[in-house]
């Protein structure tokens, strides 16, 4: 058993920071040694919102590939109701959401989506969301390069 720690004992324990004992080599200049710390961030602001009137979820911006005109009120609205995970929201709203599974290279715009997909989406009455392994993913759409026209 002990008596409470005294201010003098506390001062002795706090005397030196052990950081000072880490051996330093050539300390880099500030320009060479930038670090980026997490600042004010908002996941919701980095996302697109889907909602069904009572529940909502978020997907990365760029994951919503197509929104038919009649479904536009369900995309991008302010969050109201209860937030659900993507899987729970999708399960409850299969009637108006269709997923498009894409590869990483397709998401990055390194490979085009299969020919005719964009045309297929435009005739759908559902919202099309890009997914990879079941999770929503942002997609950089690349427009096919038109064939070079040569004049004879």
């Amino acid at each position: 058993m002990a008596d409470p720690v005294t201010p003098e004992e506390m001062a002795a324990r706090q005397k030196a920071t052990p950081f000072a004992a880490i051996p330093q080599q050539q300390v880099p200049t500030a320009a060479d040694a930038k670090v980026e710390r997490p600042g004010e961030q908002s996941l919701i602001k980095q996302s697109d919102i889907l909602h069904d009137g009572s529940n909502w979820t978020i997907v990365p911006k760029g994951a919503v590939l197509h929104v038919p005109a009649q479904m536009s009120p369900r995309v991008g609205a302010k969050p109201l109701g209860t937030l659900l995970s993507w899987n729970d929201f999708l399960t409850a709203n299969r009637a108006w959401i269709l997923t498009e599974e894409v590869s990483f290279d397709q998401a990055a715009g390194k490979k085009p989506l299969p020919e005719g997909r964009k045309e297929f989406w435009t005739i759908q009455t559902k919202v099309i969301v890009a997914t990879h392994q079941g999770g929503p993913i942002s997609v950089r759409i690349i427009e096919p390069t038109p064939p070079a026209v040569t004049q004879k």
Partner: protein
């Protein structure tokens, strides 16, 4: 190169913080292409990233959002890449228990703890970019103020660090702290409370949105104090022992605080008889506690005349501390002062 990142440890460290009433989101952002993937996750467990860990690195972020209010918290993040240094931060305290709600490590302001940063993948040689040869190790302090007892890692680590140092060698760097470095409360260093965060950053050439490659934190709770009021040193108890007021301040989240009494003058370390039915406090919580209780009708613990010492003791995973004590005497013997006188007959 295709590699998979197991996010088990990453998620488990905060699994408790994102339970019922919260929805979890793990976002992977490819630093080179900007592709953002929302990994399907459950409140607990682990998941493997299926995306390529491309040359430019991937930033993993664990978010939780309160489902009813849409209040969002960035719980943790980590930059990972095939050509980036790797790091791990492990903190060890004397307390083997953890915060029952968040799973966070905890310690007391006056107690030592150890931080180990393990770094690998650093290169040595000339004409190498500094990002390949060194990482930055930081200590961030975040005090609890008022009733605030929770700060997210993102909030705690976004500002200027209290201390920092470069690590230029692969291996383990061990830091032994004798006590917390958190600011004193009302001039008392042992009353500091809050969180200490330790972060390892990769050095950036400007191509990364975030550079944190490892992190860990410990909660710090103040040292308890207390007092026994209602009886003073040297008092004499004649009939009924007086009612006491027991003040307990900042009792540790995993502790047992009680009164004990023994015959004789004060002697530190004496095992007395606990007043087991007089407001003992078993406190297992995620925060410290302060309260005031009254104690009366404890005469059965003072069975005979003599000198007694009453102590207020708190037991924690660290030690037993005598918060206050008082020594008094019990003297219930009645002195009958009488005189028999006779009346002589006349």
């Amino acid at each position: 190169m295709k590699s998979y990142l197991l996010l088990g440890a990453f998620l488990c460290s905060h699994a408790h913080a994102a339970g019922e009433g919260f929805a979890n989101f793990v976002r992977q952002t490819q630093q080179g292409t900007g592709v953002v993937w929302s990994m399907p996750v459950t409140p607990t467990g682990s998941s493997a990233s299926q995306l390529l860990l491309e040359e430019g690195g991937s930033l993993f972020q664990l978010w939780t959002i309160e489902q009813a209010t849409a209040k969002e918290y960035l719980l943790d993040q980590k930059l990972v890449g095939a050509y980036l240094p790797k790091a791990d931060v492990v903190i060890t305290t004397v307390d083997p228990t953890r915060d029952p709600e968040t799973g966070a490590l905890r310690t007391r302001a006056d107690k030592p703890f150890t931080v180990k940063a393990t770094v690998s993948g650093l290169l040595s040689g000339i004409n190498l970019p500094v990002a390949a040869t060194q990482v930055l190790f930081e200590q961030h302090l975040a005090s609890f103020s008022g009733t605030t007892t929770s700060i997210t890692p993102a909030q705690a680590t976004s500002g200027t660090p209290k201390n920092s140092s470069y690590i230029a060698a692969n291996g383990v760097t061990t830091l032994d702290f004798g006590a917390t470095a958190l600011p004193a409360v009302n001039g008392a260093a042992a009353k500091a409370k809050g969180q200490e965060h330790f972060v390892v950053h990769a050095l950036s050439d400007g191509s990364f949105s975030q550079t944190q490659i490892a992190s860990g934190y410990v909660q710090v709770w103040p040292a308890a104090t207390g007092s026994i009021e209602g009886i003073a040193n040297g008092d004499r108890v004649r009939l009924k022992a007086p009612t006491l007021t027991i003040i307990r301040n900042d009792v540790y989240p995993s502790s047992y605080t009680y009164l004990q009494v023994y015959e004789g003058t004060p002697k530190l370390g004496t095992k007395g008889i606990p007043l087991s039915d007089k407001a003992p406090l078993v406190w297992t919580s995620s925060v410290s506690k302060s309260d005031v209780v009254t104690v009366s009708d404890y005469d059965k613990y003072l069975p005979k005349d003599g000198i007694y010492t009453l102590e207020l003791v708190t037991e924690t995973p660290f030690d037993s501390v005598r918060l206050d004590y008082v020594t008094f005497s019990v003297d219930r013997t009645l002195d009958v002062r009488a005189q028999i006188t006779g009346l002589d007959g006349e």
